[in-house]
């Protein structure tokens, strides 16, 4: 049967539409990239640029964290791999004399390889055990950094980390990272790259398989899906991407210490994810943006900030299990009575009878 026949036979396939949307997606991502890259040239205040940069690298952490969470693993060790990325890249630059542009991807690869190595034994663990072991892994690393002054700098950390090496872009000029806006573009590019990779991992063929594993791992296994491989793959890719975020963080703040990579970091990521909505691709992004901006308001006192975060989280868990991204739908349901979703469901049923 041919494609034409298939379309004749069935409805115009929603999946085909999905494929077309995927085809257009790169342009969408590029468009958003260019749109957002304008911001530092319009708002010239370094503080707001800094806030945006912080949001960008946090989005990298959060969205990769969420993806691992979505493979059914209760990940509690994101800080381990972010730390590996930061330390690896800094050591490659300061000790081995590498260029930042080589060190950052290398740090990502190192973290991914580490995730690959530990992934096979530890991804067998389920639920809390996985949480405990990943957390333990992260804190073990923290103690390694603390213990070995050479090369990790011990508890004092590593300071005077050089920024990225200047690059020349034909037509634009030299980008020497003397200004926040240069970092902004780099962070934005890194974030869009991460988001694009995750978009593909979630929405492409392979995303279909990830979803299938979540929907029913027994059936997935029965049709020949090697669940472990997929989990390790997600773990490695996401850890690698998060590590690149960590590398950026290190070269952006010029200073890292073991203190920066504690389980608290992962807990924050978990909060962003849950509040944003872990089921949605945009959940991690929305959660990070909303809570980061709201957090700025309470920057004076972290206690109030934490109270706000935890209240947010409790409310979301109890009343909006799909997270903030489902808020518009929730409101719509309040006012209209039934959501678009339900209409869709009814439509399907009527089509069948």
């Amino acid at each position: 049967m041919t494609k034409a026949a298939a379309c004749h036979n069935g409805l115009p396939s929603a999946y085909l539409q999905k494929l077309n949307r995927q085809k257009r997606a790169p342009y969408g991502f590029l468009g958003i990239f260019f749109l957002l890259s304008m911001v530092p040239f319009i708002c010239r205040n370094d503080y707001y640029v800094h806030v945006m940069i912080a949001i960008f690298y946090t989005v990298i952490y959060t969205s990769t964290y969420r993806f691992i969470l979505r493979t059914g693993q209760f990940h509690f060790g994101a800080h381990a791999f972010i730390g590996i990325g930061a330390y690896a890249s800094v050591l490659l630059v300061t000790r081995a004399g590498w260029s930042f542009w080589a060190a950052m991807p290398a740090a990502g690869i190192i973290a991914a390889v580490c995730a690959l190595i530990v992934g096979f034994p530890i991804l067998r663990l389920k639920g809390i055990y996985f949480a405990i072991i990943t957390w333990g892994l992260g804190d073990t690393l923290r103690f390694v950094y603390m213990r070995f002054k050479n090369p990790f700098g011990g508890a004092l950390g590593i300071f005077s980390i050089p920024g990225p090496n200047p690059i020349t872009i034909p037509g634009v000029g030299v980008i020497d990272f003397s200004q926040k806006s240069h970092y902004y573009i780099l962070a934005l590019a890194l974030m869009m790259l991460t988001l694009y990779v995750l978009y593909r991992l979630e929405r492409s063929r392979i995303g279909l398989v990830f979803g299938a594993i979540r929907e029913g791992d027994q059936l997935a296994r029965a049709i020949g899906i090697n669940i472990m491989n997929y989990k390790v793959l997600a773990f490695a890719v996401c850890s690698g991407l998060a590590a690149m975020g960590g590398s950026f963080y290190a070269h952006y703040t010029y200073y890292i210490s073991p203190q920066d990579f504690t389980v608290l970091l992962t807990i924050y990521l978990a909060i962003y994810t849950v509040v944003g909505g872990q089921d949605s691709y945009f959940g991690a992004i929305v959660g990070t943006v909303v809570l980061s901006l709201a957090g700025e308001i309470f920057a004076g006192y972290s206690h109030y900030q934490l109270i706000m975060y935890s209240t947010f989280m409790i409310v979301v868990l109890l009343f909006l299990p799909q997270g903030l991204v489902s808020f518009p739908r929730y409101i719509a349901r309040l006012f209209v009575g039934n959501s678009a979703n339900e209409v869709k469901g009814k439509g399907n049923e009527s089509a069948l009878t």
Binding site: Y129, I133, A155
Partner: protein, 288 residues
């Protein structure tokens, strides 16, 4: 190494182990009954300690009068939390963990605002120290060891022998079947939270005089407890006891002979390697 040092280190190990076991007891109990990880356990521990501070130090009540009051107070608070917050999402285990984390943070931050930032000391009800084979232990620690042991064993026998305990265990094995036999889901959960939070408060009561209390003490405690019950096997009370003493021993001997700042690294490495080799902990059983 001389004998009295060895004895002292063993005594230290037992003392630390008992404290950890006591901390972890409520957490592991809740896990064994309801299969949930109650992260706000740490906050309950903290509240128990503060209640002790207010009753004993501020109001000047007798320590022994305060004990049942604090346990009742925090246990009831736990039950209320279960009713108000946890019941609606009882079946979603991941959401429960996140809710616990959120609640822990909420209570901790609120604690800083309500109780003040400064650490508070609680006067010891058991002053003095005990000399033993050239080693020394303060009475308050010895009391923790004794009461800790009593708590562990009585809880164990409660679960294994008493009718109520058997009911709780039946619930743990198969909630639906237990419901059919007339064991109410809601009652079991309320009771579980009451006992769990009560045990956290007991830990706060006993440990508070040894250390000083701050609103942040809970997070630290819950992380250690997590490590303890993870290593011991989630939901296993003997496992928690065993792993508390293992961790206590590593901490005691590691600190004494290798240095304080690498000991916790060693503990983490030990737990990670052990769990990798045996994914269910020391005495844990595989659960669905």
């Amino acid at each position: 190494m001389e004998l009295h040092e060895l004895v002292q280190n063993v005594v230290n190990a037992i003392s630390i182990g008992s404290i950890y076991a006591l901390l972890a007891l409520g957490l592991t109990l809740l896990f064994s009954i309801m299969d949930i990880l109650f992260f706000a356990h740490g906050a309950m521990y903290m509240l128990g300690a503060y209640a002790t501070y207010y009753f004993c130090t501020k109001f000047g009540w007798n320590y022994f009068v305060a004990i049942p009051l604090v346990i009742l107070l925090i246990g009831t608070f736990g039950t209320l939390i279960e009713k108000g917050l946890f019941r609606p999402i009882r079946n979603d285990h991941v959401a429960i963990i996140f809710l616990g984390i959120a609640l822990n943070w909420f209570l901790e931050s609120a604690g800083f605002i309500v109780f003040g930032l400064r650490p508070k000391p609680v006067a010891s009800a058991f002053p003095g120290k005990l000399q033993f084979l050239g080693s020394t232990i303060s009475w308050e620690r010895a009391v923790v060891v004794i009461i800790g042991m009593i708590a562990v064993f009585s809880l164990y026998f409660f679960l294994m022998r008493s009718r109520l305990g058997l009911g709780l265990r039946a619930f743990a094995e198969d909630p639906e079947a237990a419901e059919l036999q007339g064991i109410s889901n809601d009652h079991v959960c309320s009771l579980g939270f009451f006992i769990g939070c009560g045990l956290a408060a007991l830990a706060g009561l006993l440990v508070a005089p040894i250390f000083i209390i701050t609103p942040a003490m809970g997070s630290h405690a819950v992380l250690i407890s997590l490590l303890v019950i993870g290593l011991g096997g989630l939901g296993s009370i003997p496992g928690a006891l065993l792993s508390a003493f293992i961790i206590g021993s590593i901490e005691s001997f590691g600190t004494a002979y290798l240095g304080a700042n690498i000991t916790w690294g060693l503990i983490f490495i030990f737990v990670v390697v052990f769990l990798t080799i045996r994914p269910t902990g020391i005495l844990g059983v595989e659960r669905e």
